[in-house]
């Protein structure tokens, strides 16, 4: 068996008296399509934040492709090959969609960053447009992102995270805050964009319809612990999950 692309070992994190992560161990294989579920405060976002370097775990180890990345700054983790999107899209509001992606591709680009080469060189703009195209966003390229609808902003946010060609992409609630009939189109576009990439996609999700349709594997959180980790079908059938997470019998 090959090395897991991401492995968390015995992660613990407490905020004062509140335990947000209690001995979490998760191993994620290359190219996985994984959903993290759980009610608010169960520890999903804390997990994502720890893995991407926003929070430092009290104890435990995070290995990315076998390398210890525990406590590294977010930008180093991104550089290592693991990036994330945000529940509330983190965009440069007055800048256009294209410029936002250019920022992402610009940062991701390796090699010398010349001061005498325009950021809007033909090659760079073409590459950025290609990324937008993968999300069907070319029409919005020239509009300031602050003026765009919520679903489009979500997708731009994800497109930016994908610009660095990560091996692990964490999506923090990609469909929250958008209307229910937008959810599937958004996820369809995300999944289509991921086709051909070897990236493992880990998404935090509340909508079980989304989870069943897009996740091959589901991890359920409750009170800072993992209570189930299996295929989507198996997890959603789990009694604990039904009691603490989905709150209903399917």
């Amino acid at each position: 068996m090959s090395i897991p692309v991401l492995e968390a070992r015995n992660l613990c994190k407490a905020f004062g008296a509140v335990v947000a992560a209690d001995d979490i161990s998760i191993s994620i294989e290359q190219g996985a399509r994984l959903a993290l579920i759980g009610s608010n405060g169960a520890g999903k976002t804390t997990f994502v934040n720890m893995v991407t370097g926003y929070l430092k775990p009290n104890t435990g180890t995070i290995l990315f492709e076998g390398t210890d990345v525990t406590g590294m700054a977010p930008r180093r983790i991104t550089r290592a090959g693991m990036s994330r999107s945000f529940q509330i899209p983190q965009l440069c509001e007055p800048m256009t969609a294209l410029d936002n992606v250019l920022v992402a591709t610009g940062i991701a680009a390796t090699g010398r960053q010349s001061w005498f080469r325009s950021a809007h060189s033909r090659a760079d703009v073409d590459a950025a447009r290609a990324i937008l195209d993968r999300f069907d966003l070319v029409d919005y390229a020239d509009q300031p992102v602050g003026e765009l609808p919520g679903g489009v902003r979500k997708l731009i946010d994800i497109a930016m995270a994908l610009a660095s060609k990560p091996r692990v992409l964490l999506l923090d609630e990609p469909t929250s805050g958008v209307s229910s009939d937008e959810k599937f189109p958004i996820m369809d576009r995300v999944m289509r964009a991921l086709e051909g990439e070897s990236a493992a996609a880990i998404f935090v999700e509340h909508d079980m319809d989304i989870v069943t349709r897009y996740a091959e594997r589901v991890i359920a959180f409750y009170a800072g612990t993992v209570i189930a980790d299996d295929t989507a079908q198996a997890v959603l059938a789990n009694e604990d999950v039904q009691r603490y997470v989905t709150g209903r019998k399917r």
Binding site: N49, Y54, F86, Q87, I88, Q90, D172
Partner: protein
């Protein structure tokens, strides 16, 4: 007499004066996110109106303790007249804008206040002698202190506690805290946010003017008194943590005692000791001493 005690007493008197001025500054920042450069101009306005009011009172036979009352009335008058003009007429159009830009707006107000004050009161000095004679002298060790100066310590404590408790114990205070924490939520819950803003700014103006009024007996009230005050009180609120009342108190004490120490021990450093303290504090506490660390929601 014990040198340490002298340094402490002198430092605390200076700190009390600083605190009264800085309290209004930090309060206005806490509620409105405005670092108000015009605070210095309002301080000067308070000093001038105290001089005029006290003069009017004594001219009408109301001397003695009435002069203290007159100083408070003067500060109140400045607050009542000036607040609506500056807050309603100008600042409210800038809420939510970049803090540094608003600082520049208040700097413009400060410049205008300088000349307006000069146009109203002229360049000749004004004096307020009487209040400082009311409390007599106190001998501590081999030194005499003026009772009025020592009473500034009490006044500062009363002002600080009144504002601090007022925010925590009264209804309007709790509403104000809600506006500070979650302005949008407070507005949707029916809080009249603009009224809170007006009140908070008014209280800030009152405290600035009161600082000036209480200082008037110590100085000759004339053009140029506003500038040094505002920079020093900026240092105090930055050291303490912007928007924090206990921070302003601690900041004032640190600055006051550091300055007093410098006067006795390293007089050459007095001119920049305050800024040096500010640099050192900021290096170790990037947002001042009393800034709760706020995790950003992502």
């Amino acid at each position: 007499m014990n040198l340490a005690l002298t340094i402490l007493i002198d430092g605390v008197i200076y700190a009390s004066w600083l605190f009264i001025v800085a309290l209004g500054l930090t309060l206005v920042f806490g509620v409105l996110r405005i670092l108000n450069f015009a605070h210095g101009g309002l301080y000067a306005l308070g000093a001038y109106s105290a001089a005029v009011t006290v003069g009017w009172f004594t001219g009408h036979g109301l001397d003695g303790w009435f002069t203290i009352l007159a100083m408070f009335i003067a500060a109140l008058a400045v607050a009542v007249i000036v607040t609506p003009i500056i807050e309603r007429g100008l600042l409210r159009f800038f809420y939510g804008r970049d803090e540094v830009l608003i600082l520049l707006v208040t700097y413009a107000v400060f410049l205008m206040l300088e000349d307006i004050t000069k146009l109203i009161f002229g360049v000749d000095p004004y004096y307020v002698f009487e209040p400082r004679t009311l409390l007599g002298n106190v001998e501590i060790g081999s030194l005499f202190y003026v009772g009025y100066d020592l009473a500034l310590i009490g006044t500062a404590i009363v002002c600080g506690l009144a504002v601090w408790l007022g925010l925590r114990r009264t209804r309007i205070g709790k509403v104000t805290l809600a506006v500070i924490a979650e302005p949008e939520v407070a507005a949707t819950m029916g809080v009249n946010v603009s009224r809170i803003h007006l009140l908070a700014f008014g209280l800030g103006v009152f405290l600035a003017a009161l600082g000036g009024a209480l200082t008037a007996p110590l100085i000759s009230v004339q053009p140029g008194i506003s500038v040094s005050v505002v920079i020093v009180s900026f240092a105090v609120v930055i050291i303490g943590g912007l928007g924090s009342i206990p921070g302003a108190a601690i900041g004032a004490l640190i600055v006051g005692i550091a300055r007093s120490f410098a006067v006795y021990k390293v007089p050459e450093a007095e001119i920049f000791i305050i800024y040096l303290v500010m640099v050192v504090v900021l290096i170790f506490r990037p947002e001042g001493l009393f800034k709760p660390i706020q995790a950003r929601r992502i």
